[in-house]
Subunit: 479 residues, 2 copies
């Protein structure tokens, strides 16, 4: 037990070294483990259970909106990857190449998918012939590979898990509506289920997906003031359709090209949860995706009736919640630390005196607030506490974002805001010229994150060149 | 619609060409589509939905028995693959090798996992230190790659989906019990949920998994008399533990090696379903994994009240079943063929006269039997029909297996049975000598499939050499 106590003591404080704090949590909460495969990691049961909850919820949203799951090969022949010019330029430098099958050199090398537009396009060309075949609303849950130089658990790794949606439509309007719909599904998931506020917006030309006509994104602010791209949704127009010959007979009997979208969300979502809600005691999980929503800790468990009661409560609560009863021989104090580290939203303490008084103690993880509640209507009390955790996390995250959003009308103002308050989300006007975008980044260190849908007119002039402004842009340092 | 009618006419009869019948179903029921990635396929929504149901059910069984899901990297460094001698010998000739990341040659090449024992072992060595860390009961749902020369949808492809369980235990007894438990879970799943009878047994020495001490398997008989290895469960002893240094401090404070298992089931299960239950009208799906359990076909749907009633029934039945209402403009006759092709277990027909009489017609896919049932208690009637389909499939499969199981006491008898009745499961005694195993295969064409747990003493002598028999072996031609 002396060993185990070290767990908590070992965590670096987030104010001392945020990066170290982050990797400490990844290890100590048993989310990941390193491997001898450079840049790749093991996602351990507790981390993977978070991902399973994310999958279950999102997959439900996708299916409600008419999407179907499929599975494409993990390999892409080099010639197929090359069919769309911008796309191959964007991805070829960072793919892993398979050159041999067994002892034989392959006639054509295959890349491990970095994303699957080309495979979906080939498939759509095979199965779409008539307007009656449209739309096709497909998704897949797989892993992809991008040969990153520097990696960090969840945030950037050579292999990561994600879902990629790929859809084809008869008209541009329909495809654009799909792109927007999926962005809103992501945003609602982040805000409602994960309690992470996001900015919805569009990437600038220089930052859009390789091959896309436009890229929408949601951007979240991490506790340290850095931005994180949380999900993207791309509108492709008919660019891929032309490159891959995806045509259909319209109602008017004309041969037309389809319009296409794709959209994705990855395991970096787990990184976003850690860096938005975590604290110096460890992980703090939003109830919707917490593998354990309620942990029951018996107090004086050797006393008569305590474990029986704890087991009874577990059986009762398991009907509505994900519950764990820890009846191991570790001390209650050690258990408190352990499940704080693991970010369990609600802790339920029950001892002999509680049982006598027909009550128990509930402690919410995010603020460590204790409430004594009656054992009558316990499920309602738990529901309420879980809602309090979600809402408490949301308010904390909103407050942090408000504090770290800087509206600026000059480069000097940007520099001053960042120097005074540290990293944050800078809102400033932009003329639309890529040269100005680059210059802002060069002079202030913050790059354009997106053009928020929610526009404000902070000024009539570009923050950089002083020419008439076209958009308010959100700038930031990003993960 | 003329186009669409062709769907059914196009299927090759199973008696004419079983292999062609199989691939016809794969295509026409829209389970898979070919790609330009040689040996790999697209699993289409209808095929993938079957897999999702398989996953959901099995994952439930795994979790009920205490297993947790994790995710390992898809790559294995060559040096890691080589750590266990038998294992690398078995797999190295059939792996895909990644040699380049972007434009750079890798220092060490990586194979795409053909199976993940080596990665799990490395991880176990990192996280297992004490008897308190045991057992670890892990599983992952991923795809793996084996560079097969000839491929067929679901049955043999270069990439396939599966789950692989990997567990470590303090004692050999516990590990053996786990190996058996998982084999029984697979067998029960096949028999109860898929209505496919299986033979439980052990592989002979020559046929066991590369690196295993013993391999258990379940073998199923396909409609054409060939056997299919449906799932395997391996006991590793401490062989991998020694190769990877997975040791723990025992309760008695001694440093000991763990005992290990692994077990897997793949998408070839979908092939087994097709080849066990399918017929000349297409797929026939066991209700437990059918993406659509009940399809509602409105008759004279333009007449007042028909679609309303059909929608009402859909809403009612969707609470308990996976239901589709096809209200497209195709004729009822076309729809009947379409959903027969797709193997939907129960068809519900409802027209104006049915509505007037407060009834509908239910047709079960496997025998095309029609029943008129009251709309009162419809969910009960559907439940009963689904059970009838499952039981009907089971009886048909059992009858086929009984017909095609040949008990033989000499090589000549084996040859005669196969010549007279075609492929099947041959039961015959064996002395345990590999030379005899090879000779039976050479002379009769059928190889050893397993040593069934359920032994019978057909004879005292080996079917081949006449020396004392050790086991009854099941022999067959296999997929």
């Amino acid at each position: 037990m002396a060993d185990q106590k070290k767990m908590v003591e070992d965590i670096t404080s987030m104010d001392v070294d945020f990066a170290k704090w982050y990797t400490d949590i990844c290890k100590k909460a048993e989310l990941v483990e390193y491997t001898s495969v450079k840049g790749c990691m093991v996602i351990r049961p507790y981390g993977y259970a978070i991902w399973e909850n994310i999958q279950r919820i999102l997959d439900g949203y996708f299916k409600e909106t008419g999407h179907e799951n499929v599975c494409m090969p993990m390999f892409i022949p080099e010639s197929l990857l090359q069919k769309e010019k911008d796309h191959v330029e964007g991805f070829a430098p960072e793919v892993a190449w398979v050159t041999h099958g067994g002892n034989d050199l392959l006639e054509e090398r295959l890349c491990v998918r970095p994303t699957s537009e080309t495979l979906f396009c080939e498939h759509f060309a095979n199965i779409v012939h008539s307007h009656r075949d449209l739309p096709k609303l497909y998704n897949q849950w797989v892993s992809v590979v991008r040969w990153e130089k520097t990696t960090r658990p969840f945030l950037r790794s050579r292999e990561f898990l994600w879902q990629e949606g790929h859809t084809v439509h008869a008209t541009a309007e329909e495809a654009i509506a799909e792109t927007e719909q999926m962005l809103n599904i992501y945003a609602d998931f982040y805000e409602k289920d994960l309690a992470i506020p996001v900015v919805r917006g569009q990437k600038t030309e220089s930052d859009k997906f390789a091959g896309a006509e436009s890229t929408y994104c949601i951007e979240a602010l991490m506790h340290d003031g850095k931005a994180l791209q949380a999900a993207t949704s791309h509108y492709f127009g008919d660019g891929f359709a032309k490159a891959f010959g995806i045509q259909f007979q319209s109602k008017e009997n004309k041969l037309e090209y389809v319009h296409e979208t794709s959209w994705g969300l990855t395991t970096r979502t787990i990184g976003a949860i850690i860096m938005t809600h975590g604290d110096d005691n460890g992980l703090v999980l939003p109830p919707a995706v917490a593998p354990i929503q309620v942990v029951i800790i018996p107090v004086a468990q050797h006393k008569e009736g305590v474990l029986e009661k704890a087991n009874e409560l577990k059986a009762q609560l398991s009907k509505s919640f994900r519950v764990k009863l820890d009846d191991s021989e570790n001390s209650p104090g050690w258990k408190y630390s352990e499940y704080e580290m693991k970010g369990v939203p609600v802790r339920l303490e029950i001892g002999p005196r509680d049982i006598e008084a027909n009550q128990c103690v509930l402690v919410t993880r995010h603020n460590r607030e204790k409430t004594v509640v009656s054992l009558d209507n316990l499920p309602d009390a738990i529901s309420q506490k879980l809602q309090e955790v979600r809402d408490g996390l949301w308010e904390k995250a909103i407050a942090n974002r408000d504090k770290k959003t800087y509206k600026c009308t000059s480069i000097d103002e940007i520099k001053a805001a960042l120097a005074e308050n540290g990293d944050g989300l800078v809102m400033a006007m932009w003329c639309g010229d890529e040269a100005c975008e680059d210059k802002v980044k060069e002079e202030t260190g913050v790059g354009s994150r997106c053009i928020p849908f929610n526009q404000e007119n902070l000024d009539d002039k570009c923050v950089c060149c002083g020419k008439p402004a076209k958009h308010m842009v959100m700038w930031g340092n990003a993960y």
